[in-house]
Amino acid sequence: MYLIKNWTLLLLLICSALTAAAQQKVTGRVTDAAGNGIPGVTVRIQQSNRGTITDVNGRYSLDAAAGNTLIFSFTGYKSHQAIVSGTAMDVQLQEDYANLDEVVITGLATSVKRSNLANAVATISAKELYGVAPAQTFDAALSGKIPGALITANSGAPGGGISVKMRGITSIFGNSQPLYVVDGVFISNISVPAGLNIVTAAASAGNPQNQDNPSSRVADINPDDIENIEILKGASAAAIYGSKAAAGVIIITTKKGSSLGKTTVRLMQDIGFTKVRKLLGMRRFTEETAFEKGGATDRDLFIAARDAGKLYDYEKELYGETGLISNTGVSVSGGNERTGVYFSANRRSEEGIIKNTGYLNNSVRLNVDHKLNDRISVGMRATYMNTSSDRGLTNNDNNSVTYGVALSNTPEYVELHPDALGNYPANPAGTNFIETRDKLRNNETVNRVITGGEMKAVLHENDQTNTKLIVRGGIDFFNLKTEAIFPRTLQFMKGGLNGVSIQGNTNNLNTNLMGILVNYMEANPNLSLTTSVGATLETSYMDNLIATATNLLPQQTNVDQASNSQLSQFRQKYRDNGIFIQEDVLIMDAITASAGVRFDRSTNNGNYKKYFVLPKASLSWNLAKMDFWNIPAINSFKLRAAYGEAGNVPPYGAKFLALTASNIGGQPGSLVDIQLGNEAIEQERQTELEAGLDISFFNGRLSLEATYYQKKIKDLLLRRSVPPSSGFAQQWVNGGDLQNKGVELSLNATPVNTRKVRWQSTVNFWKNTSEITRLDIPAFPLGAFGNSLGNFLIEEGKSATQIIGTIGTGKGIGVLGNSEPDFQMSFFNDLTLFTNLSLRVMMHWKKGGDNINLTEFLSDAAATSHDYDDDDDGNGVKDGLDRMNAFGAGEARYFVQDASYFRIREIGLYYNIPIPQNRIISAVNVGVSANNWFTFTKYRSYDPESSNFGSNTISTSTSRGSTGISTGVEVTPYPASKRAMFHLGITF
């Protein structure tokens, strides 16, 4: 370390001697087409690192020599070059409709202008993310905005839980969710279950996967802090992230302090409400149907309830609450040329559509950037978040205790409301979910700190070349406290567990550190070379401790206030490191070639010392920038191709054959696990080839981005089913190949752009198909509850997401559907009138893609479904009975249902109130918005987006985590909600 310091100093000394002479002060103003000054424009002298930024009025001044070329660049505008010829230079920037000059981060420390980019990297701006109609959580706000992604809400519960799958299935049993990088910090997005299985027994029969419905941790981030998001969808773009990049990388950049010398303070307040998107209704009984359902007992109950006017719509009572949403934030952004500070504080609170559920998120953030001198700059990002979500008790169970399962069993004529003394009657048809809802507590509280720092030092520079050292480190620490309290007076606690308190405590620490050297060399104005070389290290340690107490004292929640207790602990730890080198070549600002290689290893691999080699290469050629180009209507015509490899490490513990604890008679016991470890387990390897064409017409007023990709995942990590008579159920193997192919089209247009009216429109289309191209092990079913209820089947030569099921007694199984959509489209329109009024609409169409709907099944089985008595097919048999008869005859077809939808995801109307010039308030905006308000679907349950198994739930010693396949399996979920909000923002 001491040595490095000396060398750095030495280099600095050498380099500073190279500063040139003959300088003069150049001043000017940068304006837009309308003549308004643009603040924040970067003004840089070509072939040097010197530059400045325009002030609030768009003015700048810097030292430059005559003949120097100044480059003016700013997001949203085309960059502009001008040669210094005097002391004054005013510049007008053209709007960059197609975002061609937008800078996209492509390496760990390098970036490329969009017009030269070789990959289809989706960028989501703050306005697109959260500026239309804010979603419940940051991850939910991505829905429909990433071409190539299938984003599904696992649950409607406050606090979210989102599955993001980029370009199809990337892993079946390994991590299937993208890596989230916030300002260079690799954050954790695990879902930690609360240990509810002791009460729900959800994982005890049909499927051993955890079904606790935990939230995902990426939702902790305050969306208002986000400046923009870049999405690297697959290995071709993300290879530089190595063995963490297989499922894509979502790079989040938070806001920076401005360097304009003026401090802006922004206050914002949103207020709104949330309602259930859809209710199904209850079955309306008659004396006759009540008798059919439950004999004389039920008929008498029905008559008594009807005559007393006590037929209830329990579904509405349970899911029909209107939740209040409030979002309060303040942000302060300020600084000068050397130091920028951004501070924000935010409080989001939200009530759920079920009583006693809700979400609260408090966060503060401080981002500081400081230039020590011309050569060294440091940046610090720190955020603290505190979230609390009350999740209720939904999803599958095998003890009839969750709200939905109990509701599905309850006819309208039973009485569940408390009597005058506050005693809840027992539900003769299940458990009293009204009581459960009123008394239960299922809370997740998170305290989390994400902090990162970056140091950039110019080790050496001259007119042609410079070398930078970038050191970046980050820490993501959270403590998750789960608390589930089931008081002993609950119907299903009496005489059994007699009250349960489940207290979970999880500490998770992720760290990452990287050092990168970047050498930039401009051999001549037509050729520049960027070489980067670096090393990375990531570690993670998670410690999950769950204490479960049963036979709990009344009113008490401490685990020692009970007669019995159980403890369980699960820890996991890994350390990954990598070394990479990358070379980028830019020729004539038109041809970009890039090649790199990364060497990665991980302690989760069977051989922790083995380095995996992950190469990448890409080439793009923008023909319109060539001299021969003579079609003025087309100002960008780019052909591009990229190839890359990435990995996906096995889950922690895949290499061990564990002995799990299993005690009896007060003696400690060790029991051979049913999961057979594999000491030779290796990471999955993904190769992705992507090619595309980007065309921009009429100065960017119309642009098209077309991409085709082929993504192969080799040596799939599989939990092979072994013959259970061996005593094992599964073994980890690398046993197959999977391929995804797809297209992504994106059309951007600005059909109208006048002073008074401006209309911008984006249409995206994307489609993916997958195939299991090799499977070394026999085809195996997974993901749901057995073939007679619809299941997934991994089979060579077939789609990875095919849904199969039994097709009748004695006929075996057949294909019944596929969870992959036929295609998806999204439409974004932004209409601005008279510069101050803007209407933004985001629509999302998912065509095809099937779900396994078992909510309907449970209602049918209990003869309570709302359409039980209908006869849509006119065969004289009630529909509910039809469905049950089909199931009785061994047919699973009714459970597999088309989950297509067309959704107006976001609609927002905003107005900047014109205010007289004053010294205090600079802007006031108001707006109204609706999120997920209109959905058109034929799917026969609450919402086509649902997943009983979550998406990123960890496996522990006692429970199995999520698979990459089983989204879209629905069992009485927390119904999805819609939101309407009013927004107020004041800028000082």
Partner: protein, 429 residues
């Protein structure tokens, strides 16, 4: 010069990062299999074996009792209890009712094989201790295999599963039973002259010695012998077991449960009058019972009848009255009935009637006055087994053994009684 420094910096940065590497990360959560080097660790494995015998017993007993028309199982979240298991459609070979119990029993067998290996290779054990481990473990393994064979019966089971990369063939019932009997005999041979020097739960109270475990082993052997229709062998085994014609019915070996950490609760327990999830006596249990039979207490009257999919019952199964009530592995009441069965089949009717009367009078019934013929006595013996061993996993097996499954009642037109469960799908992999 510059280039050289550049490279040096790279290597130094790399070296700094590499310096943080500190070797492999072990399993932080549990011991790893294959590393037993102390007696305590083998004892832990034995405790694990005993504990594992209890996994998914609820699924096993529910499935077998539904097929034997002893119970209904109503569950608002799992309708297959009242459809597939009652004979509608078909039994699926990849559904929990077969896969879960099958996997759990073979898991115990794997544990047994692990202990046999560990004990055989242990330098720190005496010969007597080794015999103790292997005698106990083989007895348990035989019991676990028998439970799986009960499910699949003529579809068979694997009895040789020692080598997991080369599992033995699936053998049909007769051969599998012979293997199980042989394994019990090996267990007997090992237990003879052994030292039992490992802890067992109180489910084995009074049977924790070599002699006690031998009596347990022979009780199982008697059960296997009647399944094989080896009547004389059954009587021989009974003589070496804890069979006691005049002893308490409940004497025997049990699975025990507790609230202690890492232990399990009896998941066959459901509170009385439970809704949503109920385990109900088949109505015929009460309608067929002789007045005065105290075994009616095992089917407690509910406050309300429950109906689901056209099935109705007003009685809860009430054998396990708390969530820590023990579940019998084998008990004297069954041995008395085995004695009766063997005697009937050997045409030694007076002895058989003595045993039957012991059961009848023990349950508040008058002595047997029916016909004294093999056919009549078999019917009576099966009837006593039905009531004495209610919901303990015998009725379906008994009716199958005597080819009487067609006599079991079907309330709904599409119901039928399955003869056996399919071999789990993944077994063919």
């Amino acid at each position: 010069m510059k280039q050289y420094k550049f490279l040096q910096t790279i290597f130094l940065t790399g070296a700094l990062l590499a310096a943080c590497q500190k070797g492999e990360i072990p399993n932080l959560n549990t011991p790893v299999a294959g590393s037993t080097d102390s007696k305590e660790e083998i004892d832990n494995l034995v405790t694990g074996l005993e504990s594992s015998m209890r996994f998914t017993l609820n699924t096993y007993f529910d499935a077998v009792s539904i097929l034997g028309r002893e119970i209904y199982r109503f569950s608002s979240s799992e309708p297959r209890y009242v459809t597939e298991l009652m004979g509608q459609g078909e039994l699926n070979n990849n559904t929990f009712y077969i896969t879960n119990p099958w996997t759990s029993r073979y898991r115990a067998v794997r544990q047994g094989n692990t202990i046999l290996d560990a004990a055989a290779n242990a330098s720190f054990l005496t010969e007597e201790q080794k015999k103790g481990y292997s005698g106990f473990v083989k007895t348990i393994m035989a019991h676990q295999l028998l439970m799986n064979l009960t499910l699949t019966h003529s579809n068979g089971i694997r009895t040789d599963v020692k080598n997991l990369s080369q599992l033995g063939p699936i053998k049909p019932a007769a051969e599998a039973l012979a293997d199980i009997a042989a394994l019990l005999d090996e267990g007997k041979a090992d237990l003879t002259g052994s030292a039992i020097d490992f802890p067992l739960s109180d489910g084995f109270a009074n049977f924790k010695t070599p002699a006690g475990l031998l009596r347990f082993n022979r009780a199982l052997a008697a059960r296997v012998a009647v399944y094989r229709q080896q009547w004389a062998a059954a009587l021989t085994a009974l003589n070496e077991s804890f069979f006691d014609l005049n002893g308490p019915f409940s004497t025997g070996i049990y699975h025990v449960f507790s609230n202690a950490s890492g232990d399990q609760l009896n998941n066959l327990f459901l509170p009385r009058n439970n809704t949503g999830e109920s385990r109900l006596a088949h109505p015929s249990y009460a309608t067929d019972i002789t007045a005065g039979d105290d075994r009616i207490g095992k089917a407690a009257l509910r406050t309300d009848a429950v109906t689901l999919n056209g099935l109705t019952s007003n009685r809860d199964v009430w054998i396990y009255t708390t969530n820590t009530s023990p579940i019998a592995i084998i008990r004297n009441e069954e041995l008395i009935l085995i004695y009766a069965e063997a005697k009937i089949n050997l045409n030694q009717f007076p002895d058989a009637v003595v045993a039957i009367n012991r059961i009848r009078t023990g349950h508040n019934l008058p002595v047997y006055v029916g016909a004294i013929s093999q056919a009549a006595l078999i019917t009576e013996m099966l009837r006593q087994r039905r009531y004495s061993l209610f919901a303990e996993g015998h009725r379906w097996v008994d009716m199958r053994r005597y080819g009487r499954l067609a006599e079991l009642p079907n309330t709904r037109p599409n119901d039928k009684v399955w003869e056996n469960f399919p071999i789990p799908l993944t077994e063919s992999n």
